[in-house]
């Protein structure tokens, strides 16, 4: 087949493609379509299985409704449940709005709520959340719009863990692939999905009032540069925490200043360095403190994060009500660090000798930003005689090593931590891998006792004093070195109004957004 025939065939092939594409686009001209730029496609938007941030945000905040939600100040606010009460600390009764409808018109009742949680507990569903709801002993439908949960034992964080989209019983039980139906009761209805785009359309009879947007299009743009260039051309309306920190300030200067506004406030994502507490060479608290004093967090924030972060002193962000302000803080004191290492009896480095006082291995993923920061820490610690070897691995391998405690030092971050009970998961000695997330293999009787206690008390003030004590001990014992909280940054097109940035970077305020051309 001569080359010209091949060329003819490919051009016909692509022209047909163009026509198809234009047909699709034409239908939506002139309507309010919010273009949101995101980095990665959600692995799945089916709330029963979705564990990645984007997938959960779209399902929890847009497609489905949940009994309760996190308010702007992270307190629990009503959603499907108008009100709730706890007759005793193991029973919860929720009263639902009575005119909520699913996207297929069927009413949402207590039956659907009961079905949702029992469906998730059932091992056949293979949902990752089965474990979280094991603690629910029984669910009773009192009347179509009120429901009672009875728990095995007191769970202080129950109201946070109950935030789960309510799925339609009649659709799930009918079987068939739910992942491309996604019938929920949220402000937006699932319209279409392709590898590059997710399109949602307005739910006119949403129970808290129909949103003014006609359509939301999530544009999946993987490459940082391409995403920025897309905004340079004004082809995106809203980007949340998806612009490289070194490009954020471009939006405060012309030409972009004309078209976009930058919203920035303290974020929840906590960046830290974790020690492997089982390694003999890391047992001495003096060495751990020396390392903490040897890292200049301010410098990293100023130059690498361009000021878009605040130094952190605890897992909980300053925004969090439980966060304890006066704990030991480790700002940059190289002399103290050297003194501590002397006291720890580490060999001295001769003035000329290249021989470091100690060599440690820092394991990281292959994320370019993380590696960049690791190199700065490497250079800072080298100044006080601590030689850091950075070993970067592809994510799967790295994650496998970290989960199995196969590391000396590593640097990671926890995202969206609001409930202080998280301290139990990461510092209680009953939570060593592979079961739990106490990857640093940290064991401290006081912490074990306090984290156990904190879970079983409902009274907020008493919990606050417990978690204050925990944060003080952790700050002194240093299983983690706290680095910083990266800020929450949303870049919003001037034509968009009504958007409110949520500390968890969520999409709750999308239903109030309007577009004025």
């Amino acid at each position: 087949m001569s080359r010209s025939k091949a060329m003819l065939r490919t051009s016909i092939f692509t022209i047909l493609l163009t026509l198809l594409f234009l047909l699709l686009q034409g239908a939506h001209a002139g309507e309010k379509n919010l273009l949101v730029g995101i980095e990665d496609p959600p692995k799945t938007m089916d709330p029963r299985f979705s564990t990645d941030a984007t997938g959960m945000r779209i399902s929890h905040h847009l497609l489905f409704s949940t009994l309760v939600q996190h308010g702007q100040d992270l307190q629990i606010i009503p959603n499907l449940a108008k009100s709730w009460k706890t007759p005793d600390n193991k029973t919860y009764i929720f009263h639902l709005h009575d005119q909520v409808r699913f996207h297929d018109g069927r009413p949402l009742t207590a039956e659907d709520v009961k079905f949702t949680f029992e469906h998730l507990k059932n091992p056949q569903t293979k949902s990752p959340f089965a474990g979280t709801y094991k603690v629910i002993k029984s669910i009773r439908v009192i009347d179509p719009y009120s429901i009672e949960f009875k728990l095995e034992k007191t769970v202080a964080s129950f109201l946070t863990s109950i935030i789960m989209p309510i799925v339609p019983k009649h659709v799930i039980e009918a079987g068939g692939p739910f992942h491309n139906q996604l019938i929920g009761s949220g402000p937006f209805i699932f319209d279409d999905q392709s590898p590059n785009e997710i399109i949602l359309k307005k739910n006119p009879d949403y129970f808290m009032g129909a949103p003014s947007l006609d359509r939301i299009t999530f544009k999946i743009i993987k490459d940082d540069n391409t995403r920025f260039l897309k905004m340079r051309k004004g082809e995106l309306d809203l980007v949340i925490n998806a612009i490289p920190l070194n490009k954020v300030d471009d939006f405060k200067k012309s030409p972009l200043k004309k078209r976009y506004t930058v919203m920035e406030d303290a974020g929840l994502s906590y960046n830290y360095i974790s020690f492997n507490m089982k390694k003999p060479e890391l047992q001495d608290i003096k060495l751990r403190k020396a390392i903490a004093y040897g890292i200049n967090v301010e410098e990293i924030i100023k130059y690498r994060l361009e000021g878009h972060a605040v130094p952190s002193y605890s897992l909980l962000s300053p925004v969090n009500w439980f966060s304890e302000k006066n704990v030991t803080r480790y700002d940059y004191q190289p002399e103290t660090a050297s003194r501590l290492m002397d006291e720890a009896g580490l060999p001295k480095t001769g003035s000329n000798s290249k021989q470091p006082r100690i060599t440690l291995e820092l394991k990281t993923s292959n994320n370019a930003e993380v590696i960049g920061i690791a190199r700065i820490i490497q250079a800072q610690l080298a100044k006080i005689g601590i030689r850091i070897e950075i070993k970067s691995y592809e994510w799967g391998t790295f994650y496998g090593d970290i989960k199995s405690g196969n590391f000396q030092l590593t640097t990671m971050r926890w995202v969206g931590v609001t409930e202080p009970d998280f301290y139990f998961n990461i510092f209680n000695s009953g939570q060593f891998p592979p079961a739990g997330r106490n990857r640093g293999l940290y064991k401290n009787e006081q912490i074990d006792r306090l984290t156990e206690e904190g879970r079983n008390i409902l009274d907020a003030d008493r919990r606050k004093t417990i978690y204050a004590k925990i944060q003080k001990i952790v700050a002194d014992d240093l299983p983690y070195i706290s680095l910083w909280h990266t800020s929450n940054i949303s870049i919003v097109h001037k034509r968009v109004s009504g958007y409110q940035q949520h500390p968890m970077g969520g999409y709750l305020s999308f239903r109030n957004i309007d577009i004025n051309p």
């Binding site: 080359r3 692509t14 299985f49 260039l229 799967g396």
Partner: protein, 306 residues
């Protein structure tokens, strides 16, 4: 010829079987567990164990391998671990995009390589030859994650002629094809030049001139056809480079191709998806090479298809 093709197709099955086996054991051999990566820190180990057993990931590897191969033979490539969609469905969704990008990149490469290569060979060491040599080295040494953004800045932002990213009409195909095609164009133009230079030294070219043929005919009919022979093998090889090179180009232009699907699959240890992707890529590769070998024999009669 026919018997040769049949024999090669039988061998193709053997090759694909080899690829599937190599991939299966290699991906399972790499540390990192799909359920861990999928569920992240949320699920309890008991649930993860349950999920693994329901998905059959805890069965001995050989059993899993046997089931997988028997599945492949019946056209069932298994279901993707994360999205619960069948692997076949996810691959077929991406195949046209990959095909389109490969044809686009190949066309760009040939459109650049042939004229540059031929002109450079006609006046060796002349001005045009050095210019084309310089341009081709630039093409090879310039990584596509560098060329992509540059093209976008110039053509999409400054001139606003072409869209920035995403697959769509012909205009969406231009920048990604140039990005992916240049390295190959550079390589091919040097190969065509060196091969053509050799052929031009042959006696039958002087004979063609002695026969009174116009220079254009001497070059295009006599010289080029002989010079094509080593070039065809290169084109066959380059398909492999295009497929893997596409990963970065697909990332830059958000081109929903197989390359990025494979990379996602590897990162998430999505075994069935990785195996399915590689099986399809391998099939494309082996079929294209079969075609190159056949064109090889068609162009060079001296090569008997043993």
């Amino acid at each position: 010829m026919i018997s040769y093709i049949i024999r090669r197709l039988l061998l193709l099955v053997f090759v694909l079987f080899g690829v599937v086996t190599l991939v299966f054991f290699l991906i399972h051999f790499i540390p990192g567990d799909p359920v861990d990566i999928m569920l992240g820190d949320y699920a309890l180990p008991a649930d993860k164990q349950e999920l693994r057993s329901v998905m059959g990931l805890d069965r001995p590897l050989l059993i899993q391998y046997k089931d997988y191969v028997s599945g492949v033979l019946t056209g069932d490539l298994g279901t993707s671990i994360h999205s619960k969609r069948t692997v076949l469905e996810e691959i077929l969704e991406r195949l046209p995009a990959s095909a389109e990008l490969m044809v686009g990149a190949m066309t760009i490469a040939l459109l650049i390589a042939f004229p540059f290569g031929i002109l450079a060979a006609l006046k060796p060491y002349g001005l045009l030859d050095s210019a084309s040599m310089f341009a081709s080295f630039l093409g090879v040494a310039m990584p596509n994650f560098w060329l992509g953004p540059l093209l976008i800045i110039f053509f999409s932002i400054k001139l606003d002629w072409l869209p920035i990213n995403e697959r769509g009409g012909l205009e969406n195909l231009i920048l990604p094809s140039i990005t992916l095609g240049t390295a190959m164009a550079a390589m091919l133009s040097r190969m065509i030049r060196s091969s053509l230079l050799e052929v031009l030294g042959e006696e039958y070219i002087r004979n063609a001139r002695a026969k009174g043929l116009a220079e254009r005919k001497v070059i295009l009919k006599h010289a080029l056809r002989n010079a094509l022979i080593p070039v065809i093998t290169i084109i066959g090889l380059q398909i492999g480079v295009l497929l893997s090179g596409a990963i970065i180009t697909e990332a830059i232009f958000d081109w929903p191709g197989l390359g990025s699907l494979l990379l996602e699959g590897i990162y998430n240890r999505n075994y069935p998806l990785v195996q399915g992707c590689i099986l399809v890529i391998a099939t494309i590769y082996v079929v294209v090479n079969l075609i190159t070998d056949i064109t090889y024999a068609w162009v060079d009669p001296r090569v008997r298809l043993s």
